[in-house]
Structures are given as C-alpha cells and as structure tokens.
Symmetry: none
Amino acid sequence: MIPDLLTAGQFATVYNALSLVIAAQLFTAIFLVVSLPRVLARYRPAVTVALIVCGIAAYHYFRIFDSFTAAFTTDSVGGTGEYTQAVGVAFNEGYRYVDWLLTVPLLLVELVAVLALARAMQNRLLLQLVPASILMIALGYPGEVSGDLVVRTVFGILSTIPFLFILYVLFVQLSKSLALQPEAVRGTLSRLRFLLVLSWGVYPIAYLLPALDLGADGWVWKQVGYSIADIVAKAVYGLLIYQVAKTKSWLEDPKFAEHERPLVGSVRRVADLDKAA
Amino acid sequence: MIPDLLTAGQFATVYNALSLVIAAQLFTAIFLVVSLPRVLARYRPAVTVALIVCGIAAYHYFRIFDSFTAAFTTDSVGGTGEYTQAVGVAFNEGYRYVDWLLTVPLLLVELVAVLALARAMQNRLLLQLVPASILMIALGYPGEVSGDLVVRTVFGILSTIPFLFILYVLFVQLSKSLALQPEAVRGTLSRLRFLLVLSWGVYPIAYLLPALDLGADGWVWKQVGYSIADIVAKAVYGLLIYQVAKTKSWLEDPKFAEHERPLVGSVRRVADLDKAA
C-alpha cells in the first residue's frame, strides 16, 4: 500500500499538504478560542466542540507529519533525489482513523449543538448520529489497512451502511428541526449538511484510489485528498458553525448585537464624532 | 536554486534573520491576544485576524528555521567553516507559499474588518480581494520552485495580473469607503494600503533575484528580503491595525476611552490624587 519509492516532488507535495493542515487546524482552533466571547453563552458549547475538533486534528497531523518524514529517506545531497521507505520506521495510517473516531462524532455533536434544540429532541438526534458515526469509522479501518481488495470492498460496503443511516437522519429527521431555525441561518445550516457529506465523500474516493493501481501517484493524491477533506470538514465547517452561532446570538439578543455589530449604516454617527472632535 | 555552499557568515545571516522573524511574529501575536480587550467588541474581529496571521507566520518560520538548519551542514570545528547541503535533507521553500496562501487573504480581511463597514459593502470587497490574493500566491509557486527562467517569467507575469486587480480594488474601490472613516484614522488607513503594497513589492524583487545570477549571495538576500517583508507586512501591519481599532474605539465610546486613555493633560488630576493620598 505504501509506495516503495517517492520522487522529490511527490515527497514535497505530501510534506507541504500535511503542514498546511497543521496550520489550518491549529489556528482555526486558536481563532475560535479567542472568538468564544463573541457568541451568547448558549452557543458556546457548539463553538467549543468546533475548536476541540480542530485541536484534535492539529495534534494528529503533527503526528502524521513526523511519521511521514521519518518513514521516507533519501541519500541524495539536498534531498533532491528519490525517497525510499526508511529502515525500521512505519508510516502510521492509523493516526487518521484514531482522529476520525474522535472528531467525526464531534462534528455531528457540533451541528446539533448549534441548533440549540430542546434537550429531548437533541438527545434523540445524538443517540442516532453518534453511534452510527463511530460504527462507520470503526468498520472502515480493517479495510484501510488491508492490502487485500476483497477485504477492502467488504469493509467498504459495511461502513457505508451506518453512513447511509447518518444521511437519513441529517436529511430527513433533522429537516424538521431546521424549519424551527431563524430564517437568516436556515440556508447556512442546510449547506453545512452538504459540506459534511461532500467532504466525507472524499474519504471513500481516497479509500478506493489504491484499487485503481495508480502506484505512488495514487498514494500521494490519497494523502492530499484526505488533507483537503480534513480542512474542509473541520476548519471550514467549524468557522461556519461559528458564523451560525454568531448570527443567532445577534438575532436573539439585540443589546449584545449592538456591541458586536460593525456600525452598519451609521455613517452619520461617525461623521458626528468627527465634528464633535 | 539552493546554493551548494554557504560561508559561515552567509549561514549566520540567514539563521539570525529567520530567528528574528519567529520572535517578531510570535510576540506580536501574544501582544495582540493580551490587548484584545482594549478595543471595542466590534473591532475585535480585525485584531483577532491580525493575531492569527502573526501566529500562522510564527509556525511557518519555526518550520523554515528547522528546515534551514537541517539542510546545511559543516564539518568544521565550532562551525566556523563552509556549509554544504546536507545529505538526505531538502530546504523546503514550500513553507513560505503555504504561509502566504493562508495569511495574504487574511491580511486583506484584516484591513476590511477594521473599517467596520456595512455587511453588504464588506462582503463585496472581500469577494474581490480574497480570491484574487489566493490566485496571486498560487500562480507564484510554480515559478518559485522552477529553475527554468522562462517558467519563472511566465508565472511571474501571470501572478501579477491578480496583483494589479488587488491594487485597483485597494486604491479605487476602497477609497470610497475610506472617506466614511473618522478623520483621525483616515491617514493611517491610507498608509496601511501603501505598507501592504510596498512590503509585497519585496516578494517579486526577491523572486527575481536568482535571475541576476548573484550565486549564494543572491539566495541569502532573498531569504533576508522575505524575512523583512514578512515582519513589515504582518507584525508591523497588525500593530497598525490595532492602533486604528483602538483610535476608533475611543472615538465611538467616550466612556470606554475614559478608562483606557492615559491621563492626557490631566496633570492636575494626578497632583490631586497625590495630595489626597
């Protein structure tokens, strides 16, 4: 599965993609920590889960980056030649699954939390989504680490079952709750579901890439694909959750909004200040 | 592109420049985190983006520094002799582009955010500036990593097109919004645009330096040039954004200003306090 040989360009592509993910996740997490006071207390759980997800992802990408740079070596001057698998070091693909096992259920918790539903309704949704997402990841792993195409296919199909159930909950069950959300955020919330599903769609594609037998290139694009999907599904997704939380906070507490909002259309007020000064 | 040989002096110059950037970015970020409560809530997004930009830059300079010290070695006692490219390690110029890909759009977000414009106007500006800046960086990279002068020139020209568009938006479109800003900050805001464009001007110069065939010296000055440009465009720029945010906060909320402002011209009040004590 892991290629025996990478060109310097292939090595640099994976290297830079992994570092990009670290920067994106780490600083989205820090941004959300700093921005937490900008939403009402009732939306802080959603934003807190969002920043924890990005933090967990940053941790795992630090590990994946170190694992990758240790697992491939070159004896060329300036590292411009070919890279081969190092003696005594494995590239550990398991980090991704440990990451997803923790973060994917939390991404669904994030989405439900920002809806700020009645507790009974929220618990019902979470009791469906969280176990299904854990099952989806756990069933994917035996296929991912297997070189056998039959094993890959069987576990690929098995993990699709809870995935379809999640789709059903998100697009049928959750739709009823969406109708209760303020008009201003309904569009974003609906798009968030698509973002989640589309970015998750990259994982099975990356999972199946080795079956196409593209050699080292297939493996490199799998790593890049996972990297981009993780940025979209966690950092971009987390920022959108924050956006929804902020919009709802402003709608629900005009006094709070007054402090937070830019001086929309209050040009006259600024001009008055000039005169007064 | 990367020189085969550096003198001890050239090595130390790059080494110290890179470390200077880490210190400048990291502690500007920390300063801005600590200073966040000193601006009104509506200006915290601008200052938050400023500190995130400096944080992202600090991360990448830690990486660049480590990459540089690993990529050059010497077998001289006390490291006083010549440095050659190490076996098995590449100096990764890609970090800079990954950094710019994230930070350059955010620098423009920072500038627009501190204007605190009506949402529609703000969104229009960002929809023009952010995609153009991503395009500018993405088109620069293939030229940067290429040793071929024709490829460098073609991609240099291509990435100049979105740059010219950004200039147009900043100096024509944005000028209308500047007129709505309080008198006290209009000068600083106008200068911020020049700072951005001037510091960005260093990048194409550094990009073209290798074409002058100055050898190792050209490469060393490219690294120093990028370092200085990054300090000016991110740390100095971020501090000026903070200054604008603080001035606007004081103008818009005299009560807030009363708490924040040093005792300007109120020597008598201090004297009174002394007497009272």
